[in-house]
Amino acid sequence: MMPVVLNGSSIKAKSEEAGVAVSVKAVNMVYDGVHAVRSASFDLEAGKFLTILGPSGSGKTTLLRLIAGFQRPTSGEIFINGAAVSAVPPHRRSIGMVFQKLALFPHMTAAENVAFPLKMRRSDARDIPARVERYLDMVRLGGYGARRVHELSGGQQQRVAIARALVFEPDLLLLDEPLAALDRKLREEMQLEFRRIQRELGVTTINVTHDQREALVVSDEIIVMDGGEIQQKARPAETYRSPSNAFVANFIGVTNFLDAQGGERRAIRAEKIRIAATRDGLAGTDMIVEGLVVDAIFEGERVVYEVRVASLGDALLRVFDHDPSAHSQLEAGSAVCLGWAASDVLEFKP
């Protein structure tokens, strides 16, 4: 059992320990007929923030539930701090989880919710109130402890759920799309909040989302999943710059797929293409094609052009113009030239 420490020194000690916190080895999960997770393997270093990113139904929740211990893998093994945990029930794993629907206890106040794991883990009753207060402060809910769950706003409930998952200083924090239900502004605020708290406590975290922006903003590492399979595990910038396959390239960022050459698929990011009325405006690019503007969407800080390119089999390319006020906008229907550097082209083996 974790010792009750109020000054946070044990927390620091934990983050300084190097080593692998979570290790997933060849894990498969088959529900009757549905292969939800396919031979997933990865290691996660202690203190890191990992995001599992993937479309709906790609097996993200299933992977998280396996780690939390709500389900047993059909095959394979999961190690937490070096110990195999398949036979360990959830209440004996030191894991804090924030559920997609929060799963706060409606018959308790905010403070009682946060105190629940401490009571269940038989912490010293005298320390509980101070500790609950400290964690409520940490999520900026000092003074809200006496409120019933239904008396709190969505964002406040979110924060109670986070405090409840962290208050017992778990070895591992699991987040199952807890921000999905929030509006965009609040979501972006909470993303940064997550990052701040995670850095402050140094707790190893696995976050699930299908919001690529969130994944890029908050993570140390990103796992992209599709159809139950891990497609890539890399740092955010690396995932963005060199996606390991066409799926990842398509899922993260806006990617234009060009013609296939010798079985290889080639792609170019929307922001790597430059657009101009004439070839003269494209100095410094070595691939130039001509096209017709189909649509020009003004988004404030940028203009998104959709350009049909006859020489690429009538492909519709999306192009970002990040400095729309520098020159006049190109109208739909006008003929334009697109240019990019050959070194920016992404190539994928089939």
Binding site: A68, G69, F70, P89, P90, H91, R93, I95, G96, M97, F99, K101, A103, F105, P106, H107, F116, P117, M120, R121, H150, R164, A165, F168
Partner: protein, 314 residues
């Protein structure tokens, strides 16, 4: 002008006329009366009930003249005195009260796991089987079921036949208090399960998973999460079982064999054996009072809000 006319086609005009007619027959301000109108049948029934209670109250204050078999003209509290002083009635009252409390406790304890498994099982087959097993007794009816127990538990019944095979002398299983309670529990179980199931369905499964990940084993999850959240269902089911078994007639009559009368049986005897409407009415009123008192007690203990009425718990 012609253009305007064609823009206002005949069908529209017919609709307008119909609407105007409807508004004439049923002006919008009548709309406020609709809820009351829909309540009317229920209010009428409650009114009849109150009228009946009034008549019973009147009868309870008159004594039976055993020579003429007529009710007395003057009011007297003699029936109440009898009801409170004669030991027979005290025994019957105590038997019914204690019995119904025990039946309620036993029924809730048995119904809870049944309802829980029925709600939580991931197998549709098991859920269907549990539902069928629950509803089958409803179709059979209370009296037939009680006779069924006579066949099974009687001196020459199946249980005693089986016991004699292993050389045990017949045991008197029927016509005692426990047989009545047993029959009542079996009769009440479906009611309790049906009232508990929606309450348990309303508890998200994720809450139990959350409690697990926060360090609670199943027992503590049950104690700190499931049980408190199921309270409205438990209170509702408890009230139904308590009042139904407190006022039950058939089980004590059939499985008790006349030796285990509940209040309802005593009332029946007064009305149809002794023809003492006065005393029968008194006992009936006392039963109503006891039942109301119990319900009131439960509400003050657990709060009417536990039935999830009002908006407080949303």
């Amino acid at each position: 002008m012609r253009a305007a006319k064609s823009a206002y086609p005949l069908t529209w005009r017919i609709m307008d006329a119909l609407e105007a007619f409807a508004a004439f027959v049923w002006p919008a301000r009548f709309g406020r009366a609709i809820p009351w109108l829909m309540l009317a049948p229920a209010l009428l029934l409650v009114g009849l009930l109150v009228l009946g209670l009034w008549l019973i109250g009147d009868a309870s204050l008159r004594t039976l003249d055993t020579s003429t078999f007529l009710m007395s003209e003057t009011y007297t509290l003699a029936n109440y005195r009898r009801a409170f002083t004669e030991s027979l009635f005290a025994v019957v009252a105590w038997r019914s009260l204690a019995g119904s409390l025990m039946v309620t406790a036993a029924t809730l304890i048995l119904a809870f796991p049944y309802a829980y498994v029925m709600v939580r099982t991931s197998s549709p087959v098991i859920r269907k089987l549990l539902l069928i097993a629950l509803f089958l007794p409803f179709f059979i009816g209370q009296v037939v079921r009680a006779y069924g127990w006579l066949i099974i538990l009687g001196n020459q019944g199946m249980v005693n036949e089986a016991l004699s095979l292993v050389g045990i002398a017949p045991i008197r299983l029927l016509y005692n208090y426990w047989a009545v309670l047993f029959g009542l529990v079996q009769y009440m179980l479906p009611f309790a399960v049906l009232m508990l199931a929606p309450a348990l369905t309303a508890i998200p499964e994720e809450l139990e998973a959350a409690a697990g990940s926060l360090g609670a084993d199943w027992l503590r999850t049950f104690r700190h999460v499931v049980l408190p959240l199921a309270r409205p269902g438990l209170v509702g089911a408890g009230l139904v079982v308590l009042t139904l078994s407190l006022t039950d007639f058939a089980m004590p009559a059939i499985l008790g064999g006349g030796s285990q009368d509940f209040i309802a049986n005593a009332i029946y005897d007064q009305f149809f054996r002794t023809s003492d409407q006065g005393l029968g009415s008194t006992l009936a009123l006392l039963l109503v009072a006891t039942g109301s008192l119990l319900v009131g007690l439960v509400f003050t203990l657990f709060g009417a809000g536990t039935l999830a009425m009002g908006r407080a718990r949303q």
